[in-house]
């Protein structure tokens, strides 16, 4: 569009009654040719043909609220001029904007909007309504269908964005609350650790010193005090691990470790329970024994958890296979059991803290549901990952991989 400043806003804006009587002259850059008198009727300036056109223009404005692009011949002082008319209803009156062409009417709009004039709003109304009507004419759609569709999509999009905003906000609030919860949990659990340590320590001393003087029932009770406190201490240590790890305090002391030795150690720890349940616990190594830079204590926790769980949840007379293999990038450790298996639904949950699959252990062992969450954090901390494949009734296969890259 040409934007010659000299041609800007050359026309007039007047307000007249529905009968055509000029009530107000808002702008008139053509007053030398058309010195309107507020008492006069606009009809006076129109030739016969234009008067008929004006009536049609008037009908369009009254029926649809606005009209744009009407060519009318206006009789001036010197000569008759063809001007482009636009109009909009303003309460009971008609606001008429006229200029040489549509672009100049748009120039009026630009100028008025810069001045924050209320008339800019009116011209905007004209333009929007008229263009919308043209669009409908051009597309041949039923009245307003396209516009309404766009508006509906836009409304839906706005609503979705609002929901997204609320959800993101809630999510961040929840993350904060979760952090606080872990902090409190860490503190509370830490406070519990000392008294339980005392109970465990003293019951151990009692067991050693006075066990000979006790009858069988008393011995059993003392034994239970000791084993229960030992169990509680383990839970508390797990809780402490989780709350520390979730707060981002997972500290790894990495050294070069032969994975095979670590696995063998863990197998021998779990062998006694396995033998009691007549479980066949076997181990295979494919290729060379991989040596990786890991935290042996933390990785010990991982292996003990995976192998211990397999033994705990496997039925007697089944077998468990622990396999190590490696390629040039990574070390893989698999623990495969023939236990009860994990449902699809639980597969996603078992790595979350405080969640345990519905599966009951074979001997009713207690589980606090933290083990696998810790396992996953530790493995992730080493740059690796853990996955599980399982089939109900057939068994599970836990699959851990660790990167070989030491950097």
């Amino acid at each position: 569009m040409e934007m010659d400043s000299k041609t800007k806003s050359r026309g007039f804006i007047i307000r007249c009654t529905r009968q055509g009587v000029i009530k107000d002259i808002i702008r008139n850059e053509l007053k030398q040719e058309f010195p309107f008198d507020p008492e006069e009727n606009i009809h006076y300036y129109l030739d016969h043909q234009s008067l008929i056109e004006y009536k049609r223009f008037f009908t369009e404005v009254t029926e649809s609220g606005a009209g744009l692009g009407w060519q009318l011949n206006l009789k001036g002082n010197a000569e008759t001029r063809a001007l482009t008319f636009a109009g909009v209803l303003e309460d009971e009156d008609l606001l008429v904007v006229a200029a040489e062409n549509v672009d100049q009417i748009l120039d009026y709009y630009e100028e008025l909007i810069k001045k924050n004039s209320p008339y800019a709003n009116k011209i905007r109304d004209i333009i929007q309504r008229s263009f919308t009507r043209n669009l409908i004419r051009n597309t041949g759609l039923p009245k307003n269908a396209e516009i309404e569709t766009y508006h509906s999509i836009n409304t839906l999009n706005n609503e979705l964005t609002n929901v997204q905003r609320e959800l993101t906000k809630k999510n961040i609030q929840l993350e904060r609350i979760d952090e606080q919860k872990n902090e409190y949990l860490g503190m509370a659990v830490h406070d519990l650790r000392n008294p339980i340590g005392t109970i465990m320590g003293y019951s151990e001393i009692l067991k050693a010193e006075i066990e000979d003087n006790l009858n069988d029932e008393q011995k059993e009770m003392l034994g239970l005090i000791y084993s229960s406190s030992e169990y509680m201490l383990k839970i508390i240590d797990d809780f402490l691990d989780v709350s520390k790890i979730q707060l981002g305090n997972l500290k790894l002391d990495r050294i070069l470790v032969n994975i095979e030795e670590l696995v063998k150690q863990n197998i021998s720890i779990n062998l006694i329970v396995a033998q009691q349940k007549e479980i066949n616990l076997n181990y295979t190594l494919k290729g060379e024994a991989p040596i990786v830079m890991i935290d042996p204590g933390k990785m010990n926790q991982v292996l003990n958890n995976l192998i211990g769980n397999a033994v705990k949840f496997s039925p007697s007379q089944s077998s468990i296979a622990v396999r190590i293999s490696s390629d040039h990038e990574k070390v893989m450790i698999e623990v495969v059991d023939q236990g009860l298996g994990i449902s699809m639904e639980d597969k996603d949950k078992i790595f979350n803290p405080y969640q345990q699959a519905e599966t009951k252990s074979t001997k009713g062992e207690k589980g606090e549901g933290l083990g696998l969450a810790i396992v996953k954090k530790i493995i992730k901390g080493h740059g690796g990952d853990i996955k599980v494949e399982s089939e109900i009734g057939k068994g599970s296969r836990f699959f851990v991989w660790l990167p070989k890259d030491l950097t």
Partner: protein, 217 residues
């Protein structure tokens, strides 16, 4: 950072319907330490005014105009994570911000909601086309410390007046801030609809919110 250039690039991305480019431009600007307020005031707001102008001039289609709006909205929503985790930790109060009128021009109040949120407010943004009754219900439910009403067209003045009146009847103590294009174009509108404050732009609206927060609400 050349904001003028960024604005031009952003507008050209919008006109080409290239939301990835728009997102990248903005992401880069944020990485170069541009603030959300600068981005909203000096890039998004003028870009959308330009898009609106092009549409009114019939230089772009209604489809392009809608797409540009949707892209900007999607770009804004990609900061939500950043916004809510970087907002001022000191709680300033709860605000309900609603937009009376057509939903094509609701990006302004949407941006204001985020800017006030950033200061430490909890802003519930209701958007456009929400009936007066529903807004009022939300006021009763949420008990906000501040209510903002934005309008783009004067045609909605009766609804705004009604809403302000109902809020004041319910609790005259809740400050009501009004704003938006309609109030700028029609200077008499503020007096007609009522309200406690007219925020003519982001800066004025933010200052009003700050003053309220300073009163220890």
């Amino acid at each position: 950072m050349d904001i003028e250039k960024l604005k031009e690039d952003y507008i050209s991305g919008l006109l080409q319907g290239d939301r990835h480019r728009c997102r990248l431009l903005v992401k880069k600007a944020l990485q170069e330490k541009m603030t959300l307020q600068e981005l909203y005031e000096q890039v998004f707001a003028p870009a959308m005014v330009e898009i609106g102008r092009l549409w009114e001039m019939n230089e772009i289609s209604i489809a392009q105009e809608h797409l540009a709006t949707a892209i900007t909205q999607s770009v804004i929503s990609s900061f939500y994570e950043y916004l809510f985790s970087h907002k001022n930790k000191e709680y300033k109060g709860k605000m309900i911000l609603t937009c009376v009128g057509d939903e094509l021009h609701e990006l302004g109040p949407r941006m204001l909601a985020d800017l006030i949120e950033m200061e430490g407010w909890d802003v519930k943004y209701l958007g456009a086309n929400i009936p007066v009754d529903a807004v009022f219900e939300m006021v009763v439910q949420e008990k906000p410390d501040l209510i903002g009403i934005s309008a783009t067209i004067e045609g909605n003045k009766e609804d705004i007046k009604k809403l302000v009146k109902r809020i004041k009847e319910y609790d005259p103590g809740i400050p009501v801030m009004v704003g938006g294009l309609a109030f700028i174009i029609s200077p008499d509108l503020y007096e007609y609809t009522g309200g406690d404050f007219l925020g003519k732009n982001f800066v004025e609206a933010l200052e009003f919110a700050r003053k309220l927060a300073g009163k220890g609400m």
